[in-house]
């Protein structure tokens, strides 16, 4: 029996644009709450239909971005390395993330106070290697510390375009040997490092990157993204994936999309340690 994907989500009860901490956000461009709820519920349903078990983090008033559970922590086996948010507006999320993860069987760890780290938003496994974005939110030094703690190879990648402030907005591991990415979000060193360690890289074009093509949720061979990424979906189909498009425009207003709204609790599809885990547990 194959391992069932476990995904953490958080209902958008208190979601909205209450501050501006990335170029997407504009408090004068508010979200439509009813539409946001519909879009979130559609994503929830789609992931459920494709075999994922969705767990829910209780929403908290005054923490509009808690809905973006990808930033709660980096999950490595039964360990959750919790986020230390750069922006004070999101720091209130830390205790709620940690409490839920701890109550749900994870060993919760945190980094020193002066180490910014934004969880699975900036740290994604592809194969045996953890790719880690820095400069905009997480710090390179935090990733070095994470590398030391988990004893895995960690490749820090500098993010150079403020629109792609988290690694998961411009990079998406699809399998242990394949990832999609938007080259414009990285510098030459980053692009070279990616090309060196990931055998197959799918380039996402500028327009579709802006539609958050790279912010995809991968469950098995299903890849769910925001709408507006037809060319990327064609590429995915050619590679044998089943792409699904669902509108997430209300979350794009905050600089997030499908992947940001989820935290894979059993390890991302592309993480090698996850397959080892599932083999061991069978």
């Amino acid at each position: 029996m194959s391992h069932q994907a476990r995904i953490l989500m958080c209902r958008p009860d208190f979601y909205g644009i209450e501050y501006e901490i990335n170029p997407w956000m504009n408090t004068e461009r508010p979200t439509d709450h009813a539409t946001a709820v519909t879009q979130w519920s559609d994503l929830h349903r789609i992931l459920n239909e494709h075999g994922a078990r969705i767990e829910l983090l209780p929403p908290v008033a005054g923490l509009p971005d808690l809905v973006f559970t990808a930033n709660a922590a980096l999950i490595y086996r039964d360990r959750a390395i919790c986020s230390r948010f750069r922006h004070v507006q999101r720091q209130g999320e830390e205790q709620h993330d940690a409490a839920w993860l701890s109550a749900n069987g994870f060993t919760v760890e945190s980094l020193p106070d002066d180490h910014f780290f934004e969880g699975a938003g900036d740290a994604l496994f592809c194969g045996d290697t953890l790719f880690a974005g820095y400069r905009m939110r997480s710090q390179a030094a935090s990733h070095q510390l994470v590398a030391k703690r988990i004893g895995r190879r960690v490749i820090p990648l500098e993010l150079v375009d403020p629109y792609y402030y988290h690694l998961d907005t411009c990079f998406c591991p699809l399998t242990q040997e394949m990832a999609a990415y938007y080259p414009g979000a990285f510098d030459d060193y980053g692009r070279k490092a990616l090309a060196e360690y990931i055998p197959t890289l799918i380039e996402v074009d500028k327009d579709e990157a802006r539609s958050f093509a790279c912010n995809a949720v991968v469950v098995g061979s299903t890849v769910t993204t925001n709408t507006g990424c037809p060319f990327f979906h064609e590429q995915l189909r050619a590679m044998g994936f089943t792409p699904v498009a669902t509108p997430l425009s209300e979350f794009v207003k905050a600089g997030g999309s499908a992947k940001c709204l989820t935290l894979r609790l059993d390890g991302e599809e592309a993480a090698r340690w996850r397959t080892l885990n599932s083999i061991l547990s069978e």
């Binding site: 020193p112 106070d113 002066d114 045996d128 290697t129 820095y134 400069r135 710090q139 390179a140 030094a141 990733h143 070095q144 590398a147 030391k148 004893g151 895995r152 190879r153 960690v154 490749i155 820090p156 990648l157 500098e158 060193y189 980053g190 070279k192 490092a193 060196e196 360690y197």
Partner: protein
């Protein structure tokens, strides 16, 4: 691996992690060279398996301290941290009035030191000082060389010290005209308007404005402008020398400044004695305060300062006549008092004085806005060259500037 580290300013940094696989090491080395520095790899340990981290210890060198700071700031973003960036290193002062050798020399930028594994902000930030640490109170503050006391704990070296430069925003501080620091070619009207805006904002938010002024304020006939500023709450502190106060009082008592009649421009017979007679009269009365109380002094800048509770400080110099009783003739004592009294200042306007401007500029932290108005561009340039880069310079005659400033402020309040 080396590319020449003969530069004078050096710092050793350490990089850890998968710095070779991720190209972080070449990226850091490139950034050092792009920043005008050089490097020497002292030690490198390459991980044996792909899970093993590598580490490198790199000596970074640069021709100036500022370049080195910039390079260190850039590469720290990539995870390169000064090697002993654990806690700051403290050495007990073995003498009073002198730092231990190798002391950390401060800038006017916001600075933090690491103590017991956490960073604390250095208080009383000032350039060209040392940092004294009180570990029991978890406090650090700048201390001038002369104020060091035997046994105090002082920071030595750069380890455990980090500087957080102010952002030099081009648009948000309201000083859009400051894109070049000093110029005779700037539209004065725009600059004056922006200075007026800043002063009004400071007044309405209860911040303190310091004016550092020279006697040219009196010589050029600007006393009325200054007194208007004082009466209307745009001046909370005034730093000057003996000359400004003397000529202001001379004008109040005799209508002259250095013997020149300010209304007619005529040189008055025996007018050169007026300033001495003024000083003498104030000395006989015991001071400016007493002269105002006994109604011997009934107008002028110093009169308004007393009447409006402006905190004034007069610092002496070797060539002073008199001086007036309030003048602090011990230069170190004057420095000490100025240091204490600039702590709560948020805006500083320096008018037509070179030495006092530089002295105050040296004492102010980088986040205090400073405007320096002088007919002589070299005053402003000197201030910037000495590290007070936050200074905005305006090269113009004092009287037209103050007149325009007062008119602008009057327009706002009406």
């Amino acid at each position: 691996m080396t590319n020449n580290t003969s530069h004078e300013f050096q710092e050793t940094v350490e990089l850890q992690g998968h710095i070779i696989d991720s190209l972080i090491l070449p990226k850091v080395l490139d950034a050092i060279m792009i920043g005008g520095g050089s490097f020497q790899i002292e030690d490198i340990a390459v991980g044996q398996t792909r899970h093993d981290a590598s580490s490198a210890r790199v000596v970074v060198a640069a021709p100036t301290a500022r370049q080195l700071d910039e390079i260190l700031a850039t590469i720290s973003d990539h995870g390169a941290s000064p090697i002993a960036s654990h806690d700051c290193r403290l050495v007990s002062a073995d003498l009073s009035g002198a730092f231990p050798e190798g002391f950390y020399s401060t800038t006017n930028q916001r600075t933090e030191v690491r103590l017991n594994e956490s960073w604390i902000e250095v208080q009383a930030q000032e350039m060209d000082c040392g940092i004294v640490v009180d570990a029991t109170k978890n406090e650090a503050r700048c201390v001038a060389m002369t104020d060091v006391k035997i046994g105090q704990q002082l920071v030595v070296g750069h380890a455990g010290v980090r500087v957080r430069p102010e952002e030099r925003s081009l648009t948000s501080h309201g000083f859009e005209f400051m894109n070049s620091a000093v110029s005779t070619e700037k539209p004065k009207g725009v600059a004056t308007r922006q200075i007026a805006e800043q002063m009004q904002e400071a007044r309405s938010s209860g911040q303190k404005i310091l004016i550092v002024g020279g006697p040219a304020i009196v010589h050029t006939g600007s006393v009325d402008h200054m007194t208007w500023l004082i009466r209307n709450g745009y001046v909370q502190k005034l730093f000057a020398g003996n000359a400004l106060a003397t000529h202001d009082i001379e004008q109040a008592m005799y209508g002259t400044s250095l013997g020149v009649h300010l209304q007619s421009g005529d040189i008055i017979e025996a007018g050169h004695e007026h300033h001495l007679r003024s000083i003498n009269r104030i000395r006989r009365l015991g001071g400016i305060q007493q002269a105002v109380e006994t109604e011997q002094l009934k107008s002028g800048i110093m009169y308004e300062c007393v009447k409006n509770d402006v905190d004034f400080l007069l610092a002496g110099s070797i060539r002073d006549d008199g001086p007036l009783p309030e003048v602090i003739t011990d230069a170190l004592e004057a420095q000490r008092q100025m240091r204490e009294r600039v702590r709560d200042v948020s805006f500083c306007l320096m008018i037509a004085t070179t030495l006092h401007s530089i002295a105050v500029g040296n004492l102010l932290p980088a986040w205090v806005r400073v405007v320096c108005v002088d007919i002589n561009p070299s005053t402003v340039i000197k201030l910037s060259d000495r590290g007070s880069w936050q200074t905005v310079g305006l090269v113009t005659d004092v009287e037209p500037f103050l007149r325009a400033l007062v008119e602008d402020l009057k327009g706002r309040s009406s």
